[in-house]
Amino acid sequence: DQQVKQNSPSLSVQEGRISILNCDYTNSMFDYFLWYKKYPAEGPTFLISISSIKDKNEDGRFTVFLNKSAKHLSLHIVPSQPGDSAVYFCAASADAGAQKLVFGQGTRLTINP
């Protein structure tokens, strides 16, 4: 049972344009959502997060949007840069202090010059 889904295994975007990565979840108990970025042969690094009491959180070029009614979140990167090429995972937890994260399958983002 995949509680967190990233339906696009890959995404290709031109440098300077906006990258939009999507994530859907099924568990209505999730109340905290995170995005991680992963380079090959490395561990994921935390990128940005959002609590369910918000619908938007912004940090520099990265913005996460949460639509609770649709159980959908998205990560916007603008402008996209070549260094953004990586695999992006969304993750969710059932309480803000949870010890466990449920991850999606990941989306490979490629930024083309």
Binding site: Q6, A41, G43, P44, F46, F89, D95, A96, G97, Q99
Partner: protein, 112 residues
């Protein structure tokens, strides 16, 4: 600052051999510790987590076990590896009560 060390980076082991992966965290006390696995083409799956010394919770039935002999040390073990144990293993830590997990560099395990 906090750092997490995980070793080895790569490992090739024959079927039926034992396994021991070690993870240590520096710069923090009483962290939550986790072992995740990423199988080929799949997301990260939580295998074990620990909220304190000797306290281990298993998320999925499997051929692996975990131990936490010290506050900042987390060990993943197997007595006899299976081919299906191949994957990318990641250790992570978080502050008690906080949801953000910080990951180690990972170990690529290939069972042959």
């Amino acid at each position: 600052s906090q750092t997490i060390h995980q070793w080895p980076a790569t490992l090739v082991q024959p079927v039926g051999s034992p396994l021991s992966l070690e993870c240590t965290v520096e710069g923090t006390s009483n962290p939550n510790l986790y072992w995740y696995r990423q199988a080929a083409g799949r997301g990260l799956q939580l295998l074990f987590y620990s909220i304190g010394i000797g306290q281990i919770s298993s998320e999925v039935p499997q051929n692996l076990s975990a131990s936490r002999p010290q506050d900042r040390q987390f060990i993943l073990s197997s007595k006899k590896l299976l081919l299906s144990d191949s994957g990318f293993y990641l250790c992570a830590w978080s502050v008690q009560g906080a949801p953000v997990a910080f990951f180690g560099q990972g170990t690529r395990l290939t069972v042959v």
